[in-house]
């Protein structure tokens, strides 16, 4: 919201600030530190000192230009001044604004100059050229009673400072949505007197129109007045300029005065043309579901039953707190008005305004919980101002005022010591009471410490109700800068480590540090076009009610799709990529769960996703097993190796089993393993890309992905497994080639080997796999290196041979294994 220094000056004497840049800067800083945030301020009009009132005495066609005229102008001096002017409305008798030669504004300088051969000694100006009003249809048409030669600044507030306050910072301060409230704060800050508002008016004798409010919760107070013999004219110049500077267009005295009172007090008013108001009773009621009305902006609105309407005897005439209706708008020939000044409940106005997308100056003020004392004050202010510009106007009636339940005065019990405790200050009672009374609180001193603080009605609607609020009042007026910082005395707390954060830190250390992965982070939404390309998980996704775009309306159920997109974005810039992300994924509860436990949050586990990609397998590591692998296999095994190392570094193990078909849709159905944690829980998948993904993306063959559930990992015991004493006895390394049917996995074989002797088998490694002559079709020869060691004695070869013989015999019996 904008506010003007000249406007404030009407209520508190700021004459020493009006032309003093430094004092203005000081005030702006104090306001920011003690009241609310200023976005900034503009000092305006200082350059208009050489603009005066002038009257055109005669107008002649310019000899050399069709569109120009040569005017003789009375500038207050005996000699007429010649001005060349192109404005269509330049005419004899017109009083207007004249910028004298030497004036500089709007980035140009007025000089005595020849215009097409005729010397022009100044420029006649339009209001927008001077930054004092709207309209560029022609030069300014000023009131004809102004004296030529006087400075413009003597007939209107030309020089001003306009401040812009950050609306967010006054959301809780309904009193600051008008100049008078701001002036109250400024008066408090500068220790100056705040002048009372002049509301001395004479009301009429006739009974007020009756007001029938059917819902006092939605409309706590409704005031109405009938005003007669009003003449619609232009507002006085000072009002036009002040409104313009506060970004409100001047229209006519009726509209301008309602706006002026709103910007003065914060209280919105509405004027109806009495000719359009039927009957003698105004009714405030809820709308009927589906009821249609046309608002002042000529839009038809379909209402709901919680919208509130103002109605005459026949029909609705205003959408309460939001906007009047077209049918009863004041017009240029209106002479009798019904003035509405009411208080509506914020929630009601807000709901209607938000639903209709109709946030008006009025609605945004009602939303802030306005002072219910203001409607009457606003109505009387309106009358006072209208009578100043239109003395024949008179109030025909008494004030209709429906206010059945005025709120009780609010007071807060507190104490000087409490306020000092919360601020960390040692202010005296006198000082504390001084600050509170400077912004209109009343203070009843009970015993020098305890006090009863009366909250003024304009602060009592929502803003101030508890002791903490008074702490803020005293603190801000004292100046938080003046508080001496002090360290709290703190007990030694028991340390706490968040297990999930600790696990994530370990994972990141291993992957980014040891294993050279890049950590990336992606958005939490899935992209529909991407899912079209790579497939859609079966998980039940959470849907946004108000997505930013329809393409991103679901929360992601896996880290992988966005990771694929991130890799696609990257592969133009690298030849190989190892990436991972730690983040939450989201899965909706089933309908049944949701009904049974409505407060339960959906599952949102932390996952670890990872991927490896190489351009055509470039630089893939060597392995004795790799000879027979294609690119996709190699990618799978390279990535699997990383997950195994990660598990080792986390002090756990992972089991990889051929997937049974439950793998994610983007993974290859056969080149994929389901991963199980050390406690047997399913924890994730690792796999190559599905052929469809290879076809529909730019990733190519050498790419593999994994995703692990970190919540499952976090449930495991990840403590260090323990140190094993280094054996003094030599180990025996034994190479063995076993021929087994294809269906026997390496993992199975390894299990048999490990079981061959409980304590002597120290390690097993796969050396090579061979298929082909002379191995029969459907079988493979697996060469393994087994390390045997006895921790307490030297192992003899015969002992090892016996173990191996038993192993081969068992393999033969159980899986059809044999050796050549």
């Amino acid at each position: 919201m904008k506010f003007s220094l000249q406007w404030l000056h009407r209520y508190v004497d700021l004459s020493d600030l009006l032309n003093d840049t430094e004092k203005v800067a000081e005030l702006a800083e104090r306001f920011t530190l003690s009241v609310a945030e200023l976005e900034g301020y503009d000092q305006l009009g200082a350059e208009l000192d050489t603009v005066i009132v002038a009257r055109i005495e005669s107008c002649e066609q310019h000899p050399n230009a069709d569109r120009l005229r040569v005017c003789q102008v009375n500038d207050g001096s005996p000699e007429p001044r010649t001005i060349v002017c192109g404005a269509p409305n330049a005419r004899p008798g017109l009083v207007t604004a004249l910028a004298l030669p030497g004036s500089k504004f709007n980035g140009f300088k007025i000089k005595v100059s020849k215009v097409r051969g005729v010397e022009s000694c100044g420029m006649l100006c339009a209001p927008d050229e001077l930054g004092l009003g709207e309209g560029h249809e022609g030069i300014w048409e000023l009131p004809s009673d102004l004296t030529p030669g006087v400075k413009l600044s003597e007939v209107m507030p030309v020089r001003d400072t306009v401040f812009e306050v950050d609306n967010k910072s006054i959301t809780h301060r309904p009193d600051l949505w008008g100049h008078y409230g701001i002036a109250r704060e400024v008066a408090g800050l500068l220790q100056r007197e705040l002048r009372p508002l002049d509301t001395e008016v004479t009301l009429g004798e006739s009974p007020a129109a009756s007001v029938n409010v059917t819902d006092h919760v939605a409309c706590p107070r409704y005031c109405a007045l009938k005003i007669e013999e009003v003449r619609v004219t232009a507002s006085p110049l000072w009002m036009q300029v002040l409104l313009y500077r506060c970004e409100t267009r001047a229209i006519n005295n009726l509209v301008d005065t309602t706006n002026f009172v709103m910007l003065e007090l914060g209280q919105p008013l509405h004027a109806f043309d009495a000719r359009e108001i039927h009957g003698e009773e105004i009714t405030v009621r809820r709308a009927v579901e589906g009821e249609r009305v046309t608002t002042l902006d000529r839009q038809e609105r379909i209402l709901k039953s919680d919208d509130l309407l103002i109605c005459d005897a026949r029909r609705p005439v205003a959408l309460a707190g939001v906007m009047g209706l077209e049918n009863s708008e004041v017009r240029d020939d209106s002479t009798t008005l019904i003035l509405e000044a009411a208080n509506f409940t914020p929630e009601v106005v807000r709901r209607t305004a938000v639903r209709l997308g109709l946030r008006t100056e009025a609605s945004s003020r009602f939303e802030k919980s306005l002072d219910p004392a203001y409607p009457k004050l606003g109505a009387l202010r309106f009358v006072k101002l209208i009578q100043e510009m239109c003395p024949e106007a008179r109030v025909a009636s008494q004030l209709a005022d429906s206010w059945p339940h005025p709120p009780a005065a609010v007071s807060v019990d507190t104490s000087v010591s409490y306020i000092n405790h919360r601020l960390g200050t040692e202010l005296s009672g006198e000082v504390v009471r001084g600050y509170l009374t400077s912004v209109s609180f009343t203070v009843e001193d009970l015993d020098g410490d305890k006090m009863k603080v009366g909250v003024p009605s304009f602060r009592a609607t929502k803003d101030v109700s508890i002791q903490e609020d008074l702490v803020e009042e005293v603190g801000r007026l004292f100046g938080y800068d003046n508080i001496t910082p002090s360290q709290p005395v703190v007990e030694i707390a028991k340390p706490y480590r968040h297990p999930m954060r600790t696990l994530q830190r370990k994972v990141r250390t291993v992957l980014s540090g040891g294993l050279s992965f890049f950590e990336l982070r992606n958005y939490s939404f899935d992209s529909e076009p991407l899912l079209e390309r790579i497939g859609r998980s079966e998980a039940l996704a959470l849907e946004l009610k108000n997505p930013l775009s329809n393409e991103q309306r679901f929360l992601k159920t896996s880290l992988i799709p966005n990771m694929i997109a991130a890799i696609e974005r990257s592969i133009a810039h690298c030849d190989e990529l190892k990436v991972y992300e730690i983040g939450r994924v989201f899965e909706a509860l089933s309908e049944g769960e949701r009904i049974a436990t409505p407060d339960r949050l959906p599952s949102q586990p932390f996952m670890l996703g990872g991927a490896i990609w190489r351009r055509a397998g470039q630089g893939a590591p060597q392995s004795s097993l790799a000879g027979q692998w294609g690119q996709s296999d190699r990618a799978y095994f390279e990535l699997k190796g990383f997950t195994e190392t990660l598990a080792t570094q986390l002090n756990t193990t992972l089991d990889f089993k051929l997937t049974d078909g439950g793998q994610p849709v983007w993974m290859h159905p056969a080149r994929c393993a389901q991963i199980f944690a050390a406690d047997g829980s399913a924890i994730g998948y690792v796999g190559g890309l599905h052929p469809d993904v290879i076809e529909n993306t730019s990733l190519g063959d050498y790419c593999a992905l994994f995703e692990l559930n970190l919540e499952v990992m976090n449930a495991l015991n990840l403590s260090y497994g323990g140190y094993a004493e280094i054996s003094r006895y030599p180990a025996i390394s034994y190479d063995l080639s076993i021929i087994v049917p294809e269906a026997v996995s390496y993992d199975q074989l390894k299990t048999y080997i490990n079981q061959a002797h409980k304590s002597w088998v120290r390690g097993v490694d796969c050396v090579s796999i061979y298929r082909g002559e002379p191995i029969p079709e459907g079988q493979k020869s697996v060469t393994v290196k087994i390390e045997f060691q006895n921790k307490s004695a030297t192992l003899e070869m015969e002992q090892v041979n016996k173990v191996v013989d038993r192993l081969i015999k068992r393999l033969g019996q159980e899986v059809g294994g044999w050796i050549r």
């Binding site: 959301t171 508080i483 703190v490 707390a493 990141r508 939490s524 909706a588 949050l601």
Partner: protein, 349 residues
Amino acid sequence: MATLPVDELFELEASALEATDAAGELESLAEVEREYLGKKGSIRRQMRRLGQLDQSDRPAFGKAVNDVATRVEARLTERRASLKAAEREAALEAPNFDPTLPGITVGQGALHPLTLIDWRLDEIFRSMGFYVLDYPEVDSEYFNFEGLNIPADHPARDMQDTFWLTNGQLLRTHTSAGQVRTMREFAPPFKAIFPGRVFRYESTDASHDHTFHQVEGIYIDREVSVAHLISSMKTLLSEVFGREVKVRLRPGYFPFVEPGFELDISCLVCGGDGCSVCKQSGWVELLPCGLIHPNVLRAGGLDPDEWQGWAFGLGMSRLVMMRYQIEDIRHLLGGDVRFWSQFTGTGLE
């Protein structure tokens, strides 16, 4: 005394010495040694002729053979030494070796810059006795709004445009959503921070994103004052920025604190003298904070007459951008390898 049959011997010696001198490397030298001085070598074989000689000539011939063997041996030793020296000389050279060629690497990994800042905050705050926690991203209206003294229809809800889910829950708009959860989870007194991802329904540009990161700080104790808040924030922020900063509080409105503040820090660019970054004011707006509203304490199950607290919310994405001079916030969650690969280091300085 008959003439000793030494001609052959001396010829052998001459050829042995010649072969020794001719050997260009240690291996051929060893060959020469074997050929002449080995058990079956030609010089050794001369000894066999002793039997054919007179008894009296034998010692002299034997001595002659030994002398030859000794001389050849000496020459071999000498030659061996010089060849070894030459070989070492050669080993000390590495022709065409360019130590500036790139090393063979396993590649370089990197943490995300948000992680780097997260870890740094984690270290600072934990060393000061704060818990570092984590709370859900999909949350209920209660924890994001109502529990924080922001009832339905409260104008403050406009300040944070919300992503709503079709099930009535929401994506948290601020990490403050964890405040009430913390109070319910931990027995006071305690202090905690909780960093994390938050969401706002708003259009994006280089300095705004619909998803960004914040860190919430909360402190609960029996006696908490504005003076404590100022002092604590000064200490904490000086650590975060790695240099002494001044802080200043201004009134700010947030329904979950009372009094509520906007906290400014002295401009890090000009140190407070005024520059274009701080619009000549010397101050930069950094974070909202305040004393926790009694309604929020109550929602957390704490008696406001017994327990008080302060809280702050710091824009972590903004901190990352300030620290690394990142020009576009959207790189943080939408970047590519050119972004991810830049952030080396451990976050612990």
